[in-house]
């Protein structure tokens, strides 16, 4: 009896040892994490509009593999981006490069905001100037006073 029990328990342990904590798909989670951060801001070249991190296309998988290799070779994020831009052009960057060609893009909204606020302040000031009420002359003022004092007006 004891033999069967022992065998039974042993089998239980043996089976549960096979059901384990799932292994991360990535070989190296640290490298993977950094790769995802970099490729999140890069564009998949063959997709309609997806990031290199998310795309399931073959080329995207190949490029992710390249990036992992470059990370392991101790390249900086900028060097990795430059590596891809050298081969595929600016198109591969989702964050447009900060260079003269793109100044309008990066500065435009804030310049517009500034300009609009300036116009707004001018508008408010002009509104205050124009709408300043003209003062009453003495005759009008007397009439106003008498109207206000007239008991018959309160209803």
């Amino acid at each position: 009896m004891k033999l069967w029990l022992t065998l039974f328990l042993a089998l239980q342990f043996a089976f549960s040892a096979y059901a384990a904590e799932a292994v991360p798909l990535a070989e190296d989670p640290v490298v993977e994490q950094r790769m995802l951060i970099i490729t999140e801001e890069l564009r998949c070249l063959v997709c309609q509009n997806e990031s290199l991190a998310a795309s399931r296309a073959d080329l995207a998988q190949d490029l992710r593999r390249e990036v992992r290799g470059l990370i392991k070779a101790n390249k900086t994020n900028q060097e990795i981006r430059d590596y891809l831009v050298a081969r595929y052009g600016d198109f591969v960057l989702y964050r447009p490069a900060f260079k003269p060609m793109n100044y309008l893009l990066w500065f435009g909204p804030f310049l517009l905001l500034l300009g609009a606020l300036v116009v707004l302040v001018r508008l408010v000031r002009r509104n205050q100037r124009n709408a300043a009420p003209t003062p009453l002359d003495p005759a009008q003022r007397a009439k106003a006073q008498s109207l206000l004092k007239d008991p018959g007006l309160h209803s």
Binding site: D62, A86, R87, G89
Partner: protein, 175 residues
Amino acid sequence: MKKALIPLGIFIVLVVFLAIGLTRDPHEIPSPLIGKAAPLFSAPILQTPGQAFNSKDMLGKVWLLNTWASWCVACRQEHPILVEFAKTKSLPVIGLDYKDKDAEGLKWLDHLGNPYDLSVADRDGRIGIDFGVYGVPESFLIDKAGVIRYKQIGPITEEALRDKILPLVRELQKS
């Protein structure tokens, strides 16, 4: 009156840009390697895997690098044109078998004709990445100094061959 015309003015400029945009293809990514040195590579020759091809050997010659694969549907479109062109022996044509299985590639060439002086196997696509390949087929015209002078995105058409590639080949071969 003048201030009220500003929105209209901005809109007209926008329409002009949109109209020009209609004539462009947003999917076509121009190569940043035009005018730059072609990446040097060495790869096993498809027909004789024991031997390797080194692109350095092509210096001093004007040559065409054409990416292809047995799984590539669009390649079938340009292949007859390449086969015909190869018969003229205008310049060396080297094939880059991109992300393919050697056996499949050889079978494909057997079946459809082999316009290439030789083909190299780029099994993992690394050489393709160095050349900025993002689709197949793509072709690169490289001059005597090893500089990429032209990239054909997609299949080579009769028009592209006649109007762009051949004139450039003649010009490059003269220098």
